[in-house]
């Protein structure tokens, strides 16, 4: 099945981006495939997940996670296959969830690996059954606390996280309004994912359109976008609305604060007058210990067809930088995964 080579292709962080990442920030190098020592396994990457958080790791601004160092392999979750094992817990051919990064091969002592067993569709472990699905599940249910009849709004509606947020919102009996980057994505959100409505963030009258789509206001806004989507949401929030803050992709490439007026006090005043609850979270740090709690219902929803998913598969490690840069511009359609 797999072609065994002696070359390990790796994509390194070559330099830190200012604003949008460019191909100059990445460097493809070749090195020998490493040899596992006692207790280790050699992993061969099958799928690499590309996710917006990686933009943060390319910067050295203070963050919850250490930045990738210049010259290091870019970080990333992978589905990998054990190709050599000197660890009694793993045998050749085992599929595992790993954090091997942007490279063909990696070593592991096994402690950071999750066996995937006989999984029909392994790349889902990077999407709806993995970190993005878990992020949607905990952010919406644990922080957003949606109640039947309430209105849930989510951006990046066809993305790995947003698509799951909206579908869980529907399962919980909410009105779900998505915001996405094209008419085609919006059609998918409504027709395939079951959203009640979906608006394009390119619509110049987004604020008006959102007001029409949310006649009873907004009770939960799952924040994974920021920028003008949040601007449109803010005046529509109901008293006691909840805002899980999961990501701000619209501002990751900013190099300076936008011009005024300064609306920080306006946001504070709205939090006060509407008694809002805003809460930031990092799925691995805040909910890592609750992963099993998510697996059972999500697998059941998948079996029952209540949760659908769409993947955007890019073939070949060498395409990862371009695909990642496109992700930050919203060019992907569905969960972005690199197939090796």
């Amino acid at each position: 099945m797999h072609k065994h080579t002696s070359i390990n292709r790796q994509i390194l962080l070559a330099s830190r981006p200012t604003g949008k990442p460019t191909s100059d920030n990445f460097k493809l190098v070749e090195s020998p495939v490493p040899t596992p020592g006692e207790g280790q396994v050699l992993l061969e990457t099958q799928f690499l997940s590309l996710d917006p958080y990686m933009r943060g790791r390319m910067s050295d601004a203070p963050s919850y996670a250490a930045p990738v160092k210049i010259g290091e392999v870019m970080v990333g979750g992978t589905v990998s296959k054990v190709t050599l094992s000197k660890n009694s817990k793993f045998k050749t051919g085992d599929l595992v969830l790993s954090y091997a990064g942007w490279q063909d091969y990696a070593l592991s002592d096994g402690k950071d690996l999750t066996p995937l067993g006989a999984i029909a569709h392994p790349s889902l472990a990077l999407g709806v059954l993995g970190m993005p699905g878990f992020t949607a599940y905990m952010g919406l249910l644990d922080i957003g606390e949606p109640k039947a009849g309430e209105t849930v709004v989510v951006g990046a509606a066809t993305g790995a996280v947003g698509s799951v947020v909206g579908q869980i919102g529907k399962i919980k009996g909410c009105r779900v309004v998505g915001i996405a980057g094209s008419a085609e994505k919006c059609r998918f959100a409504v027709e395939e994912l079951g959203f009640d409505s979906c608006l394009s963030h390119h619509d110049e009258k987004l604020a008006d359109a959102l007001r029409e789509a949310c006649p009873k206001g907004i009770d939960v806004y799952f924040e994974n976008v920021g920028g003008k989507v949040f601007d449109a949401v803010l005046p529509l929030l109901n008293a006691k609305a909840r805002i899980p803050v999961c990501g701000l992709i619209a501002q990751y490439n900013r190099t300076s604060l936008p011009p005024g007026p300064d609306r920080m006090g306006l946001l504070m005043g709205t939090i006060l007058s509407k008694r809002l609850r805003m809460q930031g979270f990092i799925i691995s740090q805040d909910y890592g210990h609750r992963f099993q709690e998510f697996q059972q219902p999500m697998q059941q929803w998948l079996r029952e067809g209540k949760i659908k998913f769409r993947e955007d598969i890019v073939e070949g490690l060498e395409k990862a930088p371009q695909a990642f840069m496109g992700l930050l511009e919203g060019e992907n359609f569905g969960k972005l995964v690199v197939k090796f």
Copy 2:
């Protein structure tokens, strides 16, 4: 004991302020003392509470509470005495907590009255044992969730709410840093109230001073001020910090948004990267049903001398407008109460 007159002095809202309220926004009128009907009582005001939230009621901007209409009596909590009763539940001489507003006399059907019994110090029902103390208690404990060893920061440190927040923080084993408007107030916060440190918000190097006073960062920021105090707090917040948003007195008199840059996205980014929880609350709406839960511990802390209080008593209804305008400028020192 009390001099019975036939005149009811009332202070009405004469016009809505633009920016800082002025004496032109208030009007003192005299009307006949009303006569209670069947089931009603006539109340004579003993003490009137002056509180920052009243600035909001003078505006007709959208809010959780209806604005005072032009020509209506200004709203406010009072300690009042029943002087005539046609309600079997009250007798002449009873002291009650009421919401009679800025006037000498008012009628009530009794439903909005809380009997105060034989209370040694009736004005405390407007302060440490009343709405401000309750606000501090619930905001700090229910939203802020301080743990022993954590650092709590609160503004308006000698005010009705801030002074209680800080003292409860000390009872819970926290390091408590206050911010107040003068060296005298800061001395009081440290020497009398037991704060670990207190800084003046007039200090041009407030951000540096706060950093020094919080060597382990800030875990709970009880927000009752906004403006430059929040600016100094924001970079010092620890991961998973909690921010009960109770008031924003520094911006109540704003007539427009401040100049840029626009820091709203910066605040969102900080909420995300530090996984902050910010939650606005309105004590009456969110916690009205839990008032009894607060009374027992607070009365005990007062008896034990663990909670101290300071009142700023102004004599005479006619002085209320000036005292209220001073409150918005931080001129009071302790809980501001008008004595009749």
